[in-house]
Amino acid sequence: MLLTVNATLLDACVLATLEKGDTYGYRITQELAAGIGASESSLYPVLRRLQKDGRLTTYDVAISGRNRRYYRLTPQGKQALDAYRAEWIEYKRRIDEIFAQATEEENHDAH
Protein backbone atom coordinates (compact mmCIF):
# COMPACT_ATOMS: atom_id res chain seq x y z
CA MET A 1 0.00 0.00 0.00
CA LEU A 2 1.20 3.47 -0.84
CA LEU A 3 -0.43 5.08 2.19
CA THR A 4 0.85 3.80 5.52
CA VAL A 5 -0.71 3.72 8.95
CA ASN A 6 0.93 5.94 11.56
CA ALA A 7 1.53 5.00 15.20
CA THR A 8 -1.77 6.39 16.49
CA LEU A 9 -3.79 4.69 13.79
CA LEU A 10 -1.94 1.43 14.50
CA ASP A 11 -2.96 1.73 18.18
CA ALA A 12 -6.55 2.17 17.06
CA CYS A 13 -6.36 -0.80 14.70
CA VAL A 14 -4.99 -3.05 17.45
CA LEU A 15 -7.80 -1.97 19.79
CA ALA A 16 -10.36 -2.54 17.05
CA THR A 17 -8.99 -6.03 16.38
CA LEU A 18 -9.39 -6.88 20.06
CA GLU A 19 -12.93 -5.52 20.12
CA LYS A 20 -13.96 -8.49 17.99
CA GLY A 21 -12.70 -10.82 20.72
CA ASP A 22 -9.65 -11.72 22.76
CA THR A 23 -6.77 -12.95 20.72
CA TYR A 24 -3.02 -13.60 20.94
CA GLY A 25 0.04 -11.84 19.59
CA TYR A 26 0.72 -13.97 16.54
CA ARG A 27 -2.90 -13.71 15.36
CA ILE A 28 -3.06 -9.93 15.81
CA THR A 29 0.21 -9.55 13.96
CA GLN A 30 -0.89 -11.73 11.07
CA GLU A 31 -4.26 -10.04 10.84
CA LEU A 32 -2.87 -6.52 10.78
CA ALA A 33 -0.04 -7.48 8.45
CA ALA A 34 -2.60 -8.84 5.99
CA GLY A 35 -5.11 -6.06 6.63
CA ILE A 36 -3.08 -2.87 6.57
CA GLY A 37 0.44 -4.07 5.81
CA ALA A 38 1.69 -3.46 9.34
CA SER A 39 5.18 -4.89 9.74
CA GLU A 40 5.48 -7.96 11.96
CA SER A 41 8.24 -6.30 13.89
CA SER A 42 6.20 -3.24 14.88
CA LEU A 43 3.37 -4.90 16.81
CA TYR A 44 5.05 -5.97 20.02
CA PRO A 45 6.00 -2.46 21.21
CA VAL A 46 2.45 -1.31 20.48
CA LEU A 47 0.87 -4.16 22.45
CA ARG A 48 3.27 -3.60 25.35
CA ARG A 49 2.53 0.13 25.47
CA LEU A 50 -1.25 -0.34 25.29
CA GLN A 51 -0.94 -2.86 28.11
CA LYS A 52 1.05 -0.44 30.25
CA ASP A 53 -1.48 2.32 29.56
CA GLY A 54 -4.23 0.02 30.82
CA ARG A 55 -6.05 -0.16 27.50
CA LEU A 56 -5.62 -3.91 27.33
CA THR A 57 -4.79 -6.73 29.73
CA THR A 58 -3.24 -10.12 29.21
CA TYR A 59 -4.00 -13.58 30.48
CA ASP A 60 -2.34 -16.91 29.74
CA VAL A 61 -4.08 -19.99 28.40
CA ALA A 62 -2.35 -23.36 28.47
CA ILE A 63 -2.22 -24.90 25.02
CA SER A 64 -0.31 -27.98 23.83
CA GLY A 65 2.12 -27.94 26.74
CA ARG A 66 2.85 -24.22 26.74
CA ASN A 67 1.16 -20.93 27.51
CA ARG A 68 -0.42 -18.71 24.94
CA ARG A 69 -0.80 -15.07 26.00
CA TYR A 70 -4.16 -13.57 25.14
CA TYR A 71 -4.91 -9.87 24.96
CA ARG A 72 -8.22 -8.39 26.08
CA LEU A 73 -9.65 -4.93 25.61
CA THR A 74 -10.24 -3.09 28.93
CA PRO A 75 -13.14 -0.62 29.43
CA GLN A 76 -10.49 2.09 29.16
CA GLY A 77 -9.34 0.58 25.88
CA LYS A 78 -12.92 0.50 24.60
CA GLN A 79 -13.29 4.15 25.51
CA ALA A 80 -10.08 4.99 23.66
CA LEU A 81 -11.27 3.03 20.63
CA ASP A 82 -14.55 4.95 20.55
CA ALA A 83 -12.63 8.20 20.68
CA TYR A 84 -10.38 7.02 17.81
CA ARG A 85 -13.47 6.04 15.80
CA ALA A 86 -15.03 9.46 16.17
CA GLU A 87 -11.70 11.05 15.29
CA TRP A 88 -11.36 8.80 12.25
CA ILE A 89 -14.81 9.73 10.92
CA GLU A 90 -13.90 13.40 11.14
CA TYR A 91 -10.46 12.80 9.60
CA LYS A 92 -11.96 10.78 6.75
CA ARG A 93 -14.58 13.45 6.10
CA ARG A 94 -11.89 16.12 5.80
CA ILE A 95 -9.70 14.09 3.49
CA ASP A 96 -12.74 13.22 1.34
CA GLU A 97 -13.62 16.88 1.18
CA ILE A 98 -10.16 17.83 -0.03
CA PHE A 99 -10.12 15.02 -2.59
CA ALA A 100 -13.62 15.96 -3.77
CA GLN A 101 -12.56 19.58 -4.25
CA ALA A 102 -9.66 18.43 -6.40
CA THR A 103 -11.97 16.37 -8.63
CA GLU A 104 -14.49 19.21 -8.93
CA GLU A 105 -11.77 21.63 -9.98
CA GLU A 106 -10.52 19.13 -12.57
CA ASN A 107 -14.01 18.82 -14.02
CA HIS A 108 -14.29 22.59 -14.01
CA ASP A 109 -11.05 22.96 -15.96
CA ALA A 110 -12.13 20.33 -18.49
CA HIS A 111 -15.30 22.26 -19.40
Partner: protein, 207 residues
Amino acid sequence: MTRTEFMAALRSRLSHLPAEEQDAALRYYEEYFDEADSEEEAARQLGSPADIAARILGENAQQQTAQPQMVPPQPAQPPKPKHSPWFWVGITALCIFASPFLLGLAGAALGLLIGAAAVVLALVVAVICPFLMLSVTMLATFVLCLYLAAGALGVFTPGAVLLAGIGLLCGALGVLSGIFTGYLCYWTGLLFGKLFRSCGRRKGAKA
Protein backbone atom coordinates in the same frame (compact mmCIF):
# COMPACT_ATOMS: atom_id res chain seq x y z
CA MET B 1 18.65 -16.78 10.61
CA THR B 2 17.45 -19.53 12.91
CA ARG B 3 15.13 -19.07 15.86
CA THR B 4 18.03 -19.58 18.29
CA GLU B 5 20.21 -17.03 16.56
CA PHE B 6 17.33 -14.56 16.42
CA MET B 7 16.51 -14.92 20.10
CA ALA B 8 20.17 -14.72 21.16
CA ALA B 9 20.68 -11.54 19.16
CA LEU B 10 17.52 -9.99 20.61
CA ARG B 11 18.43 -10.98 24.17
CA SER B 12 21.89 -9.44 23.97
CA ARG B 13 20.50 -6.17 22.59
CA LEU B 14 17.81 -5.87 25.27
CA SER B 15 20.19 -6.62 28.14
CA HIS B 16 20.14 -3.01 29.35
CA LEU B 17 16.39 -3.05 29.92
CA PRO B 18 14.79 -3.89 33.28
CA ALA B 19 14.40 -7.68 33.73
CA GLU B 20 10.61 -7.40 33.53
CA GLU B 21 10.76 -5.67 30.13
CA GLN B 22 13.29 -8.16 28.81
CA ASP B 23 11.21 -11.15 29.89
CA ALA B 24 8.02 -9.75 28.38
CA ALA B 25 9.65 -9.06 25.02
CA LEU B 26 11.54 -12.37 24.81
CA ARG B 27 8.44 -14.26 25.82
CA TYR B 28 6.41 -12.59 23.09
CA TYR B 29 8.90 -13.55 20.38
CA GLU B 30 9.30 -17.10 21.68
CA GLU B 31 5.55 -17.43 21.44
CA TYR B 32 5.61 -15.95 17.95
CA PHE B 33 7.99 -18.69 16.83
CA ASP B 34 5.85 -21.30 18.58
CA GLU B 35 2.74 -20.17 16.74
CA ALA B 36 4.32 -19.87 13.32
CA ASP B 37 4.16 -22.85 10.98
CA SER B 38 7.78 -22.44 10.04
CA GLU B 39 10.44 -20.92 12.22
CA GLU B 40 12.50 -19.80 9.23
CA GLU B 41 9.44 -18.09 7.78
CA ALA B 42 8.75 -16.40 11.12
CA ALA B 43 12.34 -15.20 11.40
CA ARG B 44 12.14 -13.84 7.85
CA GLN B 45 8.87 -12.02 8.60
CA LEU B 46 10.17 -10.49 11.79
CA GLY B 47 13.27 -9.16 10.08
CA SER B 48 16.38 -8.07 11.90
CA PRO B 49 16.54 -8.55 15.70
CA ALA B 50 18.56 -5.33 15.87
CA ASP B 51 15.66 -3.41 14.32
CA ILE B 52 13.14 -4.97 16.69
CA ALA B 53 15.39 -4.29 19.70
CA ALA B 54 15.78 -0.67 18.59
CA ARG B 55 11.99 -0.22 18.47
CA ILE B 56 11.56 -1.74 21.92
CA LEU B 57 14.36 0.36 23.38
CA GLY B 58 12.92 3.46 21.74
CA GLU B 59 9.48 2.79 23.16
CA ASN B 60 10.95 2.30 26.63
CA ALA B 61 12.98 5.48 26.44
CA GLN B 62 9.84 7.38 25.39
CA GLN B 63 7.87 6.00 28.28
CA GLN B 64 10.62 6.86 30.73
CA THR B 65 10.69 10.44 29.52
CA ALA B 66 6.89 10.56 29.41
CA GLN B 67 6.48 9.24 32.95
CA PRO B 68 7.28 12.47 34.80
CA GLN B 69 4.38 14.07 32.95
CA MET B 70 1.97 11.61 34.51
CA VAL B 71 2.97 12.74 38.01
CA PRO B 72 0.29 15.19 39.16
CA PRO B 73 1.63 18.71 38.85
CA GLN B 74 3.15 20.13 42.02
CA PRO B 75 1.03 22.76 43.74
CA ALA B 76 2.25 26.12 42.58
CA GLN B 77 4.66 27.69 45.03
CA PRO B 78 3.62 31.10 46.34
CA PRO B 79 5.56 33.77 44.46
CA LYS B 80 8.61 34.92 46.40
CA PRO B 81 8.39 38.53 47.61
CA LYS B 82 10.65 40.58 45.39
CA HIS B 83 12.27 42.51 48.26
CA SER B 84 12.79 41.60 51.88
CA PRO B 85 11.14 43.83 54.56
CA TRP B 86 14.63 45.16 55.38
CA PHE B 87 14.82 46.62 51.90
CA TRP B 88 11.73 48.76 52.57
CA VAL B 89 13.00 49.73 56.04
CA GLY B 90 16.22 50.90 54.40
CA ILE B 91 14.35 52.89 51.77
CA THR B 92 12.19 54.59 54.41
CA ALA B 93 15.23 55.46 56.56
CA LEU B 94 16.99 56.87 53.53
CA CYS B 95 13.96 59.02 52.70
CA ILE B 96 13.80 60.39 56.25
CA PHE B 97 17.51 61.16 56.59
CA ALA B 98 17.81 62.59 53.11
CA SER B 99 14.64 64.67 53.46
CA PRO B 100 16.43 68.06 53.94
CA PHE B 101 18.40 67.46 50.80
CA LEU B 102 15.37 66.11 48.90
CA LEU B 103 13.16 69.03 50.01
CA GLY B 104 15.88 71.48 48.98
CA LEU B 105 16.08 69.80 45.62
CA ALA B 106 12.29 69.92 45.22
CA GLY B 107 12.29 73.63 46.19
CA ALA B 108 15.00 74.37 43.66
CA ALA B 109 13.06 72.55 40.97
CA LEU B 110 9.87 74.48 41.84
CA GLY B 111 11.81 77.77 41.80
CA LEU B 112 13.26 76.98 38.41
CA LEU B 113 9.81 76.14 37.08
CA ILE B 114 8.27 79.38 38.36
CA GLY B 115 11.26 81.38 37.05
CA ALA B 116 10.90 79.82 33.63
CA ALA B 117 7.17 80.59 33.61
CA ALA B 118 7.91 84.21 34.57
CA VAL B 119 10.46 84.58 31.76
CA VAL B 120 8.00 83.21 29.23
CA LEU B 121 5.26 85.52 30.52
CA ALA B 122 7.58 88.52 30.37
CA LEU B 123 8.62 87.75 26.82
CA VAL B 124 5.03 87.31 25.75
CA VAL B 125 3.96 90.55 27.40
CA ALA B 126 6.89 92.37 25.83
CA VAL B 127 5.79 91.16 22.40
CA ILE B 128 2.05 91.58 22.88
CA CYS B 129 2.06 95.02 24.50
CA PRO B 130 3.66 96.99 21.63
CA PHE B 131 1.15 95.55 19.19
CA LEU B 132 -1.69 96.37 21.54
CA MET B 133 -0.39 99.92 21.95
CA LEU B 134 0.06 100.25 18.17
CA SER B 135 -3.48 99.10 17.63
CA VAL B 136 -4.93 101.50 20.19
CA THR B 137 -2.84 104.41 18.87
CA MET B 138 -3.81 103.77 15.26
CA LEU B 139 -7.50 103.51 16.08
CA ALA B 140 -7.27 106.72 18.13
CA THR B 141 -5.50 108.46 15.20
CA PHE B 142 -8.24 107.15 12.87
CA VAL B 143 -10.96 108.68 15.04
CA LEU B 144 -9.02 111.97 15.46
CA CYS B 145 -8.28 112.27 11.72
CA LEU B 146 -11.92 111.68 10.76
CA TYR B 147 -13.04 114.22 13.35
CA LEU B 148 -10.57 116.82 12.03
CA ALA B 149 -11.44 115.98 8.42
CA ALA B 150 -15.15 116.47 9.17
CA GLY B 151 -14.32 119.88 10.65
CA ALA B 152 -12.10 120.87 7.70
CA LEU B 153 -14.50 119.66 5.03
CA GLY B 154 -16.17 122.99 4.33
CA VAL B 155 -13.08 125.15 4.99
CA PHE B 156 -10.21 123.36 3.21
CA THR B 157 -11.46 120.40 1.24
CA PRO B 158 -8.09 118.94 -0.03
CA GLY B 159 -6.75 118.98 3.55
CA ALA B 160 -9.90 117.28 4.78
CA VAL B 161 -9.54 114.54 2.11
CA LEU B 162 -5.87 114.08 3.03
CA LEU B 163 -6.76 113.84 6.72
CA ALA B 164 -9.55 111.39 5.96
CA GLY B 165 -7.12 109.27 3.91
CA ILE B 166 -4.54 109.26 6.68
CA GLY B 167 -7.28 108.48 9.17
CA LEU B 168 -8.55 105.51 7.12
CA LEU B 169 -4.98 104.21 6.68
CA CYS B 170 -4.41 104.45 10.44
CA GLY B 171 -7.75 102.78 11.05
CA ALA B 172 -6.83 99.87 8.78
CA LEU B 173 -3.45 99.49 10.48
CA GLY B 174 -5.16 99.65 13.87
CA VAL B 175 -7.63 96.89 12.91
CA LEU B 176 -4.83 94.69 11.52
CA SER B 177 -2.72 95.29 14.59
CA GLY B 178 -5.72 94.50 16.79
CA ILE B 179 -6.33 91.24 14.98
CA PHE B 180 -2.66 90.29 15.30
CA THR B 181 -2.77 91.13 19.02
CA GLY B 182 -5.79 88.91 19.37
CA TYR B 183 -3.92 86.05 17.73
CA LEU B 184 -0.91 86.65 19.96
CA CYS B 185 -3.14 86.47 23.04
CA TYR B 186 -4.73 83.29 21.74
CA TRP B 187 -1.35 81.62 21.08
CA THR B 188 -0.09 82.69 24.49
CA GLY B 189 -3.18 81.22 26.06
CA LEU B 190 -2.56 77.93 24.27
CA LEU B 191 1.10 77.94 25.32
CA PHE B 192 0.29 78.53 28.96
CA GLY B 193 -2.49 75.99 28.89
CA LYS B 194 -0.08 73.33 27.63
CA LEU B 195 2.55 74.36 30.14
CA PHE B 196 0.18 74.11 33.11
CA ARG B 197 -1.31 70.86 31.88
CA SER B 198 2.12 69.23 31.50
CA CYS B 199 3.05 70.48 34.98
CA GLY B 200 -0.18 69.06 36.36
CA ARG B 201 0.52 65.74 34.67
CA ARG B 202 4.01 65.63 36.17
CA LYS B 203 2.58 66.36 39.63
CA GLY B 204 -0.05 63.69 39.09
CA ALA B 205 2.65 61.22 38.16
CA LYS B 206 4.58 62.05 41.29
CA ALA B 207 1.55 61.62 43.55
